[in-house]
Symmetry: D3
Subunit: 229 residues, 6 copies
Amino acid sequence: MRKVTFERNFSKHAEGSCLVKFGDTHVLCTASLEEKTPPWLRNTGKGWVTAEYGMLPRATGERMKREAAAGKQGGRTQEIQRLIGRSLRAVVDLQALGERQITLDCDVIQADGGTRTASITGGWIALYDCLKWMESRNMIKVDRVLKDHVAAISCGVFASQPVIDLDYLEDSSAETDANFVMTGAGGIVEIQGTAEGTPFTEEEFTSLMGLARNGIGELVALQKQAITG
Amino acid sequence: MRKVTFERNFSKHAEGSCLVKFGDTHVLCTASLEEKTPPWLRNTGKGWVTAEYGMLPRATGERMKREAAAGKQGGRTQEIQRLIGRSLRAVVDLQALGERQITLDCDVIQADGGTRTASITGGWIALYDCLKWMESRNMIKVDRVLKDHVAAISCGVFASQPVIDLDYLEDSSAETDANFVMTGAGGIVEIQGTAEGTPFTEEEFTSLMGLARNGIGELVALQKQAITG
Amino acid sequence: MRKVTFERNFSKHAEGSCLVKFGDTHVLCTASLEEKTPPWLRNTGKGWVTAEYGMLPRATGERMKREAAAGKQGGRTQEIQRLIGRSLRAVVDLQALGERQITLDCDVIQADGGTRTASITGGWIALYDCLKWMESRNMIKVDRVLKDHVAAISCGVFASQPVIDLDYLEDSSAETDANFVMTGAGGIVEIQGTAEGTPFTEEEFTSLMGLARNGIGELVALQKQAITG
Amino acid sequence: MRKVTFERNFSKHAEGSCLVKFGDTHVLCTASLEEKTPPWLRNTGKGWVTAEYGMLPRATGERMKREAAAGKQGGRTQEIQRLIGRSLRAVVDLQALGERQITLDCDVIQADGGTRTASITGGWIALYDCLKWMESRNMIKVDRVLKDHVAAISCGVFASQPVIDLDYLEDSSAETDANFVMTGAGGIVEIQGTAEGTPFTEEEFTSLMGLARNGIGELVALQKQAITG
Amino acid sequence: MRKVTFERNFSKHAEGSCLVKFGDTHVLCTASLEEKTPPWLRNTGKGWVTAEYGMLPRATGERMKREAAAGKQGGRTQEIQRLIGRSLRAVVDLQALGERQITLDCDVIQADGGTRTASITGGWIALYDCLKWMESRNMIKVDRVLKDHVAAISCGVFASQPVIDLDYLEDSSAETDANFVMTGAGGIVEIQGTAEGTPFTEEEFTSLMGLARNGIGELVALQKQAITG
Amino acid sequence: MRKVTFERNFSKHAEGSCLVKFGDTHVLCTASLEEKTPPWLRNTGKGWVTAEYGMLPRATGERMKREAAAGKQGGRTQEIQRLIGRSLRAVVDLQALGERQITLDCDVIQADGGTRTASITGGWIALYDCLKWMESRNMIKVDRVLKDHVAAISCGVFASQPVIDLDYLEDSSAETDANFVMTGAGGIVEIQGTAEGTPFTEEEFTSLMGLARNGIGELVALQKQAITG
């Protein structure tokens, strides 16, 4: 696993923020609180946690077209931001949050594989700090809203070996690629596995899940360190 | 598992087509051949298989806004059509296909849960018939292009019980929901598992995968029947 | 005139639905009831009937770009859906309908000429069944809301002969092409005549209108059969 | 019929231009020549004539949203510009035009009913002047490209009386509304008739067509005067 | 400076309107009153003045793509309409206007350089006439709402000479190009200076500002004539 | 003037990059080289330098809607990116660059006033480093392509005092606000001055220009330090 660091309070304005680095993958996660909910939750007493994801055009080896200039978010972007939102909601008690919305913006400053897993793992820190900000204003109790940690890691089969936390080069030529999202207690929140070429076996998949479980354990330990540090 | 049927040659115009029904979920899959490839494959000798997915506005219990009128495809639509495309490409030898593109259009005529898994399973039939059409014109050999069957099924934990092929009601209240895509040989192509509320355990996930393996075995048997029938 | 059939209750979910076939032209018409009106009718006591039209990408001989992916509905689509809406409103008492909206979705499953006339003719059946559904819930009286039948047919001059209900091949090479929409009582609701090459004479036009009148008479008879059958 | 005037060469830049007035309806028509054709005509030796239509936001009694700001052209706009294009192509020999495109822009400066018929009638003048411009550069012969005049008029039943060239007030409360496009020789190019409330009879329609024939005769006479004046 | 004329009440429908000509640059400015404000001003007692700008596709030497057809307003259009709005607001007391919005539509009928400065200068006349219309209905007092004149002119260095009111040819080859917006009292509202090639000096800029001051003085005198004439 | 710093080579992938800070305003500027030019420069031997600008949604005190999600870039964004592009082109010899395009992406990580002036000033560093990268590959000579430094600063009248480099609070309540772009040699490239409330006088403007000249002198000195450091 590459070196993982969290830089809290990276942003002056956001209620919570974190610059997360998984090696050369750097993602800025900010949590923004709004005193309103999506229409379908009005008058239910429940809140919402959602996410948006973006990449700076030159976060990658070749410059990509700016989505704002293209006039729409691509399918990959939408897929990732839906995943981040679901993953974080899995550890939030929306009733205890109350009728408010927290938006996690995960913007990739530099990409080298694993941007979605970094976004989830760093997004949790930004969310935590946003909730702390709210607690200090007597809006909520963090313990009642945030049920657990959540973190994510990619694993893959590369050169016939199971590997964890693939960088861009490994990811590009991996035979199999899977993303795992798990809680601090070890519960599984999301699994996404894709055979890039040859289909994979259940045994391969099980070994990837084992790797992921260990990796996510380490990430959760790092998150704990970060928020107490 | 609900009753599954395939109606081949549903469409007069398409090179291959299939109306697939998983219970009350009905999806029309057409395969359209074009003698061109996406730009990034030009002069590589390789072809491409892609998919587009749509729902008729009143395929569902409440009428949904027509995506053409809304001016864009939603995130869910894009996620599903990317999944269908990847799943079918997993069993196609793109080199043997040659510089051509086959587009699978999967349009949901009526929805009752499991539209993406029906699309993949029925899409394979449409793809097969398109390749047969090409073979009869001496363009390719089906055996060289199509490496295996591929089929998909959803499984979930509903009322604490693992269930297969969830309909809309089951899906809406399932605690956990996973889609599996596998080949005829039993290789895994895609796994997507999501905890809707409480995170799930590895044991639960393994039991869902077992269910899926059986179900996909049956689907592949039905596909074989359909193409020899 | 090609063989015309109506398959009522084709859709499990819609308040009214009909799969209409004019030969190889197959259109699925669904009627969806909503308890709201467009903004300009609020607090007038009046309701609204509107239509949306779409073609599956491979309904035609060559695959067309999906309008949802293109990001907008083309001019032809908008022209047709406006025509369907006007035609059906011509036989509806919007005051008797009350402040509700019925949306007719006409989706072409397979196209072989005359999709707009099939949509109007089949759309009337779906509308009728939707109103019946409402009547059975004591919301309205069908007799007060629906003033008459409405049906449509295309006529053209092909190979110097007036012909009715043109299929795609005839339509493509017709010298003149006209669509007629009439009520059960023989009133004219819409006329659209276009010279594709040479302008046409009033005599030619009158002979087309005569053909249309007979054809629409037959269509109305078939509608009557369908709703009593 | 309201007073109709043509002001040729209204625009300094366009190859042909005409400000046409039908009473208080004022439309600026410009014809722009480009040495290219749409993709489907390349290497056919044929040219193309097309039209675009727009309304200034305050051409009407109440300001309408600017279509450029709204991000798309409405259905009415598209319907009208397609009609203008078809009407003018009906009198053009596209082969004799050669591989070029002429675009007629019809922009409504002030609206008071009948903007589409004014656009067609004035558009013919702009097209004629553009062809004259080309003839003076030895690019074409006007006589070989332009086969006839074309002009258009609206007729309707208003207060139970057939009337010609409806202004906005008449149009808004007309029971029936029809637009006729005819050539100088009296050939019919387009007919569009719509019952706004009660369906109309064949007799009513025939009387409207008679009115239109006379009106278009007058318009063609005025066009002749204008181009010789 | 080219010949400048104002034709008031050019439009039958608008509350205020003016066709302004700066030589061959012709812009139609209409002022439309609406009894509503943008959301951020609700319940503040303040009104708003805003502007939209457009060019007819063939206002220029070569036909430009219609922005409504392109589906968006370009950067230049947005820049100009924001400038027009700011310039007019600089002389309006929004509190005295009350909770209403006046929209200035500036549509370029023919372009020959200086369309934005013509729009501001003619827009002031349309705004004045709109306010007069309101005063005649006892809605406001013009003297309290409209604090001063505002007018604009472009200056540039062309062939090493400072020139005022550049036409298209001068503008295209000017070394430096600056737009000045000033009030009747000589206050500066906006300055936009751009070096097209070589950067310019403060002295050059000062001489352009002197030219502009004189020119705007003349324009204000012409505005005064126009509204009393 | 706030503390200004440049962090070169901030990005692993871009040919040139710089994180520029003006106090709490932080902008990441990357320069991306492509071996192609816009269509209008093909076969002219000339290259192009362009810019795109964006703000992370929570760069500001209140979260702004993500432009990619909104489906278009706002008028302010377009205005700023056009300004950045023009400013940098003013010091580039496009002929000496050759048929290539350099795109400057200026993404605001954190905003506190003056993002456009920071973008220009930091963009020059990224551009310089990109050209150095090219020089080291013998593609160009930096001295022949880059004619001078360019930097920018905002000045305003705040609480009746001329101030330089306004932060967000000062900017929001400034009476007058002007942006100046100048070269290392003191040539003026762009001036944009706006009266937010009361119009300003020529004397005020001249004093702002004096302030700006000094400030830009300092910025150029800092740029020199940065590229030699």
